[in-house]
Symmetry: C2
Subunit: 518 residues, 2 copies
C-alpha cells in the first residue's frame, strides 16, 4: 500500500467520494490508485478551473467537500479563480495538488514553483505532506479544516514520492474527522440585537447559510413582528426560492441604489452575512453601503448557528407565523427575445427542485422577479466575482444532486470555463445551459459609465464588444458533445426549456438577444 492508497482510503472513510481531476505526471499514482478505490468517483475535467468550480458547486448542494486533483503550481493557479469564488461562498473544499518529489524540488525543474504562496492567497488551510506515513493524518486534518465552520478551501500538497512510497504501517482504521457544529451565538450580542429589533428601525440582513427556506421563514416572522425590513446579500451561495418561500429583498448590485435601499436603517442585524460593501469603489459613491451612523450587529456571523439565532429571536419575540405571500405565476412570453422575455421564459417553465446557477449578469436583471412565484427551487450566484463560475458550478451541482440544474450563462462569462460542457456530456449530467448571446461585455459598458470614464473612440469600444467575430455558442457546445439548439424568439425558448425538463442528459440552448445592454 502506497501513499496514494492511504490518501484515497482516508477520503473514503470521511465520505469524500467525488474527485474532480485534471491530473499530470506527478499525480499518476493517485490516478492508478483509483482502480482500488471503487467508492471514489473520479471525474475528468479538461481545465482546472472546471474542476475547482465543480467542487464548489458540489459543496453548495451537498454541504460536504469534494476533492480536486490538480497538477503543481500551474494547476492550482488555473483553478484559483473558482477557488476564490468557493472561498467567498464559504463552502468546504479539498484541493489535492500533486507536486515534484520532495528530493526533486530544489533542482528548480521547469514546473517548480512556490505552491504555498498560491494556496496562502486563498486564505484557507495549507499543508505539504512529506511522508507517506503522515498522509492519512494530514488528509483528515485537511477535511477538518475544510469544514470550518465556516467552510474553507483546504489545500493538501502531495509530492510525487509521498504518493508512490509505501506506507510503513497500515492502520487498522483510517482517521475520521467529525463534522463540527456551527459556532454558538454570543449571548450579549444576541441581547443587543433583540433590544434593537424591539426599539429601532432595523434591517435584518441575511446571507451565507441563512438563506434556507426554514431560516428565511423564521427571519420573516422576526421582521414582521418588529416591523423590520428583511433583506439579503446580493450574491448568495445558495438560497431556497419560489412559491411558499419567504423572499427577502435583495441588496442591489449598483452601490448608489444599495445606499438608497439602506438609508433609513438605524441598526443592521447581520445573520450569516458580513457588512454590505460596494462590489467596487466608484468616484463619489460610498464604499460602505449602510448609513454612516448605522449600528451594525453581527448577531450570527458566518459559520455560527444562524438557525439557532433565528429560532431564539422568534421565541423571544413570540413572533407569530406570517401568511404566505401569493402571486401569479409568470405567463409564458411570446415574441422578441429580450432580457425581459428571457426571464419570463425561465420563470414560466421552471420546475420544482431545479437548481439554478446564475451567471447571466446584465441579461438576468429581471430573473428574480420572474421566478418569484415559480415552483420551489434553489438559486446559486457568483459569490466571489471571478467570472467563469457558472458552468463548472452547475456541473458540480449536477453531480451532487438527483434533479436538474439550470445554468444561465452569458457569452462573455461562458468563455472562461467552457470546457465544463465536455464533462457534462461525458458524465451524462442533467444540466441545461442557456447561453445568452448579446455579443458584448454589457456589464462593462455599464461600469464604464458608472466609474465616470469618458470614451469617444473605437479603441475602448473594441475592448467591450464581442461581435467581431460572433461566437457560435451552440456550436461550441456541440463540439464538446452537448446537444444544442439556437433560439431567437421567446416562444422558441419556452419550447426548448419545456423539452429539456422532459429529456434526460445535458442540453445547451443558445438564446440570441439584442446586442449589448437591454
Amino acid at each position: 500500500m502506497n501513499g496514494a492508497h492511504a490518501l484515497l482510503a482516508t477520503l473514503e472513510a470521511n465520505d469524500v467520494n467525488v474527485c474532480f481531476a485534471n491530473p499530470g505526471t506527478s499525480e499518476m499514482h493517485f490516478v492508478a490508485a483509483l482502480d482500488d478505490a471503487p467508492a471514489m468517483r473520479g471525474i475528468l475535467c479538461l481545465f482546472e478551473g472546471v474542476a475547482t468550480g465543480a467542487a464548489d458547486g458540489y459543496a453548495r448542494v451537498k454541504d460536504s467537500p469534494a476533492a480536486t486533483l490538480l497538477h503543481l503550481g500551474p494547476g492550482l493557479a488555473n483553478g484559483w479563480a473558482n477557488l476564490h469564488n468557493a472561498r467567498r461562498a464559504r463552502v468546504p473544499l479539498l484541493n489535492i495538488v500533486g507536486d515534484h518529489a520532495t528530493y526533486h524540488a530544489h533542482l528548480d525543474a521547469p514546473l517548480q514553483s512556490n505552491v504555498q504562496l498560491l494556496a496562502d492567497a486563498l486564505e484557507g488551510w495549507y499543508c505539504r505532506t512529506t511522508s507517506s506515513d503522515d498522509l492519512a493524518g494530514d488528509a483528515a486534518r485537511a477535511i477538518e479544516a475544510a469544514y470550518g465552520p465556516p467552510g474553507r478551501v483546504a489545500t493538501l500538497v502531495l509530492p510525487a514520492d509521498v504518493s508512490w512510497s509505501d506506507v510503513g504501517s497500515v492502520p487498522s482504521s483510517w482517521p475520521r474527522t467529525e463534522r463540527p457544529s456551527p459556532r454558538a451565538i454570543d449571548d450579549a450580542t444576541f441581547e443587543r440585537a433583540l433590544a434593537a429589533l424591539r426599539s429601532k428601525r432595523c434591517t435584518i440582513f441575511l446571507g451565507g447559510n441563512a438563506l434556507s427556506k426554514e431560516q428565511t421563514g423564521l427571519a420573516q416572522r422576526v421582521a414582521s413582528a418588529t416591523s423590520s425590513r428583511l433583506m439579503m446579500e446580493t450574491f448568495a451561495t445558495k438560497m431556497d426560492r419560489g412559491a411558499g418561500v419567504a423572499s427577502p429583498e435583495r441588496l442591489i448590485y449598483v452601490s448608489e441604489f444599495a445606499v438608497d435601499q439602506l438609508k433609513e436603517t438605524e441598526v443592521l442585524v447581520l445573520v450569516g452575512s458580513t457588512e454590505p460593501v460596494g462590489f467596487f469603489a466608484y468616484p463619489n459613491v460610498p464604499s460602505r453601503l449602510a448609513p454612516e451612523n448605522c449600528e451594525i450587529i453581527h448577531v450570527a456571523p458566518p459559520g455560527s448557528d444562524t438557525l439557532g439565532a433565528l429560532e431564539a429571536l422568534v421565541e423571544a419575540l413570540r413572533a407569530p407565523t406570517v401568511a404566505l405571500e401569493h402571486g401569479e405565476p409568470t405567463v409564458p412570453p411570446s415574441g422578441e427575445l429580450t432580457t425581459q422575455s428571457f426571464s419570463a421564459a425561465v420563470g414560466a417553465t421552471l420546475k420544482e427542485g431545479v437548481i439554478v446557477a446564475d451567471e447571466s449578469n446584465t441579461s438576468g436583471i429581471h430573473l428574480f422577479g420572474a421566478t418569484r412565484f415559480a415552483p420551489e427551487h434553489q438559486w446559486m450566484t457568483l459569490t466571489g466575482g471571478a467570472i467563469g463560475y457558472g458552468l463548472p458550478v452547475a456541473l458540480g451541482a449536477a453531480v451532487a444532486s438527483k434533479g436538474r440544474v439550470l445554468a444561465l450563462e452569458s457569452d462573455g462569462s461562458m468563455m472562461y470555463t467552457l470546457q465544463a460542457l465536455w464533462t457534462m456530456a461525458r458524465e451524462g449530467l442533467d444540466v441545461t445551459v442557456v447561453g445568452l448571446s448579446n455579443r458584448s461585455y454589457a456589464v462593462l459598458n455599464m461600469e464604464l459609465t458608472r466609474v465616470g470614464a469618458v470614451t469617444d473612440g473605437g479603441a475602448s469600444a473594441r475592448m467591450l464588444e464581442l461581435d467581431d467575430p460572433t461566437l457560435d455558442l451552440s456550436r461550441l457546445a456541440q463540439a464538446q458533445g452537448v446537444p444544442s439548439v439556437r433560439v431567437t424568439s421567446a416562444d422558441e425558448l419556452v419550447v426548448a426549456l419545456e423539452r429539456t425538463y422532459a429529456t434526460p442528459g445535458p442540453m445547451f440552448i443558445e438564446a440570441v438577444l439584442p446586442k449589448g445592454l437591454h
Copy 2:
C-alpha cells in the same frame, strides 16, 4: 490627465505598444484612455491565460515586452500558468493588474484578494502604485525590471483610484528606461571553460538566448575545434533551425535517455542555460542528468553575454568555420496519418521564415528530424511545462511578426486556452493551427508507466482518455470564427498546409491521428 493617461504615455515612450487585455470594472479608465493613445494596440482576449501567453509569444519574437491588462487577483491567477511559462522562457513581460481603489481594499469586497502573493510566486518584480503621480515612474521601473537581464515578469498593480485620479503635475517628458546590455562574462570562469574545452571530454550545452543562428554557428565551430559534443536544452524559448543552420543535439525529455546522452561528459559547459535536470522525478532515475562526477561550468549564465562568450571562445581557439551540413528535404508523405506522416507533412511544406509554436507533445516526437533541412525557420516550445501555452504564444508571435506562425497543438493541450482562436480571427492574424486529435492524454499514458504506477482498471483509464465524447476540434475553431478543415490522411494534410501558406488570415486544420500513443 489621469493616472491611466500617464501610464499609457509612459508605455508608449518606452515602445511598449501592444496590450493583451481582459479588462473589468477596475480597468475601465485604462480602457477609456486607449482612445487617447493611438500608438497602443489593445487586443481583447476572452480569457486571461490567452493574454499572458500572447505577451510571452510577443516577447519571444520581438525580444521586448508587451503589456497585459488583467482584473484583480482572479485575473492574475487565470493568467498565472502562462506567466509561469514566460518566466521560464526568461522573456520580458509587463503585467498591469487593476485592483480595488486604495481606500476600498480593507473592506474585503468579494473580489478582494492578496494579489502580491500571486505575483511573488512568479519570482519576478512587483509594485503596487498608490498615487497617480508615482505611476509613470513605477511603470518605467517595471519595464526596466522586465528587461532584466534575463527577462522577467514584472507586475504593476494599478488601484482603480490611482487610474482615475488626476496627475498633479504633468512632466515635460515621460520617463524612459534604457534597455540594459547583457551581463559581462566572468573572466576566470571563461578561462576555466577554455581550459576544459582544450583538454577534457566536454559537452557544450546551449539554451535560452544562445539558440540564434549566429550563436549555434559559433558554438558548432567551438565544438568542432575541440571535439566537443554540441547539445541544447529540451525546451527552447526560441531557436533558429533548418537548412544552413547548425543543429545541436537536443536533450531528450525522457530522463533515462538524457542520462545516457550525457554519460560520457567530463565537463558540461553551459551557455545561456542552467544545469539539465529531470522534468519530473522518477523512481530509481537520477534527478540530475549529468554524471555524478561531471564538472559543470556556467560560462554564460542566462542574462549574460552569450554571444560575446561564444565569439571569445572561437577567437581564443582560432576555431575554423565549419562546412554546412547538407541533407535531403523531407518528401511529402502519403497515406495514413500517423505521428510520422504528420511530421513529414510539416517538414515537407514548411516555408522560410515561419515561426513554429510546438505543443504537439507525444504527437510531435518526429518533428525535429522531419524539419531539420526545411527552409530556415524558428521554433518555440513549452518552457515551463504549464499546458496551454501553444495557441496563446502563437497569437502573440503573430502580432509581433510579419510572417506566418504555425501552431502545432494537441487536443488535450488545446482545451486549456482554446479562446485564443477567437482573437486570432478577430485580429485577422496569419496563424495556422494544426490541431492533433488523438483523443487521449497520451503523454500521461506514457508517464503512468514511467513512474511505475500499476493500473488494471477503468477508473484510471478514464482519467487519461478523451474519446467519450470525442472533441470536434474543427468545430471549436469554426465557432470562434476561424476557417477550419478536417484531414484524415497525410495527403490531405499536405494540401491543407500548402493552401494555408498561400492564404492570408488564420486557418485551423484538424488532423485526425490514431487514438493514443503512436
